[in-house]
Amino acid sequence: MSHYSNEQLAGLIREDSVHKKVYTDPDIFDLEMERIWNRSWIYVGHDSQVQQPGDYFATSVGRQPVVMTRHKDSRVHVLFNRCSHKGAQVIGDSRGNAQQLRCSYHGYVFDTDGTLLHIPREEGYNGAGFGKGNPESNMQQVPRVDSYHGLVFASLAPEGPDLKTWLSGAAVSIDNLVERSPEGRIEIAGGCFRYLHDSNWKMFVENLNDAMHPMVVHQSSSGTAKRVFDERLKEGDPVPFELEMLAPFTNNYDFFEKMGLTAWNYGHSVTGGKFSIHSAYSPIPGYMDALTDKYGEQKAREILAVNRHNTVVYPSFTLKGAITSIRVVKPVAVDRTVIESWVFRQVGAPEELFQRSITYCNLINSHANLVGPDDYEAYHRLQSGLQIQDGNEWVSQHRFLGKEEVEEDGTKHSAGTSDMVFRHQFQTWKDYMASAG
């Protein structure tokens, strides 16, 4: 039981700042897992990862190990990865195909929807209250599962807003991601980075909409890339993807300010919209034609005109439409977070689009690239700086305070460099954290 009362938790969030304990206190982290990650809709995976009946993908929801399965009726299920007998994790690897799920300890066998199918020497349970037909003897399904364009979400809370309502304005980013496929279909492909950070999960989530950092943090990579490419490329050489990707990180403050920020209910937000650091990429040959064939020219232009930069679907993942990729947040401890990067193939689009996304992820999201380690370093210095007892217990979120426009439904708009999104995320944080226990 937490030693924080709801009032104390609410008191950690001010209109213009948050108490540093929200990043550093292990008790707060445990409460976040219970009250945010076990209640909100959390991204699990994409249904293309379990295409055939029996396909499974083992992952986590918050700190809970789960397995996403494709059942023989082709429905996708999300099960807690725990044998109903002694509690062993049933699936021991990360992916595969199995017509039945068999526990490796005593050989109890479950169907891919969790139903208990077989117990060795079953007669030992006669009249004992455990066994087939008893729902408690099944592998348990998570309380709620839903999907949006194949993105599968789970909620460990039996009650709460439905997925579509909860996604609110962030749904448009997912719509656009899928519409960018000439067949309206996306699939996960090309592997996954798992980048371990020694910092709190919220630092990554905030950074994705922090437009005041790129020109400082990424000066050494983006700035150097511009210089090297200038020196080496000759007049008339095609501009490589790599330069188009790295150069805009050091655009000026004006660019990032004008990019704009929007925030919606339940903590979601986006930078950009009409333009972003991804909007000046060269067109991919054949791509516009493929979209026009499917949607007509006007609609195709509208699809590509959506230039959302980073969409944050709070708290569990972030999305880039133009780069057709997502980053999934896996909190491990108060100062330990794994960020997974996944790429989508836009079915029906030229392979070059997918390969551009692969190149982007190599350049920006890998543990060995030139950009991510400088973000890592910023989070690391935050995590250690916040331990300092200099009398200042509060983390500032004052930039453009009170300058946002608020629509009737709660949607907020501000300058791209505003702290509005951080304030917004922590109001959502407070709604979750100070309302239970």
């Binding site: 492909a189 000066q219 150097t224 190149t359 190599n362 890998s366 543990h367």
Partner: protein, 179 residues
């Protein structure tokens, strides 16, 4: 073993008409040791000069990864990106390099797997351990190297290097120095 290293590009064929003799195994070993030393001594430009301009430096993100174009990689670079990385090592505002990382590269089990008598090209595999130290933290990386080397007279150049990191698909923190 599938190396994924494309052997059709950018080799420098030496057409003498006479079949070439494979280099002495000790020569190849010394070359790999030399490459490792340049990295540990942070002689980045000299290290980069060992590589042909279009040479691929590749660390796959998945064991047995067949190709670098349709799958993410920890690093996939040719000359242009290597030049960016090498130059960035000296950038005053590369914060993840402050304090700077240090390394020890150990190379062992060197085997000449294939020698092309016409072009003088060698396919050399070896095993490595790399210790990376930065700010009170030491990381261990290990795995295998596959070098495609072009030998011409006394000169050896790298046409491709593939690094199969043992735990390439694990959650990892930063890799700040070339493996």
């Amino acid at each position: 073993m599938q190396t994924g290293i494309n052997s059709e590009q950018d080799s420098t064929p030496v057409q003498t008409g006479q079949p070439l003799n494979p280099p002495d195994p000790g020569t190849l070993e010394q070359f790999l040791f030399h490459e490792a030393r340049l990295l540990d001594e942070q002689r980045w430009e000299e290290w980069n000069d060992l590589y042909l301009e279009d040479a691929e430096y590749w660390i796959p993100a998945t064991p047995g990864q067949p190709d670098p174009k349709n799958h993410i990689s920890l690093i996939y670079e040719t000359g242009l990106l290597r030049a960016v990385r090498v130059k960035r090592y000296k950038h005053p505002n590369a914060f993840s390099l402050q304090p700077g990382p240090r390394s020890v590269h150990l190379v062992s089990n060197v085997i000449l797997d294939n020698f092309d008598e016409t072009t003088g090209e060698c396919l050399v595999t070896s095993r490595f351990i790399m210790l990376q130290y930065r700010r009170e933290k030491q990381d261990v990386f290990a795995g295998s190297y596959t070098h495609r080397l072009v030998v011409s007279g006394d000169e050896i150049r790298i046409a491709a290097k593939r690094v199969d990191l043992l735990n390439c698909d694990a959650p990892l923190e930063n890799i700040l120095i070339y493996l």
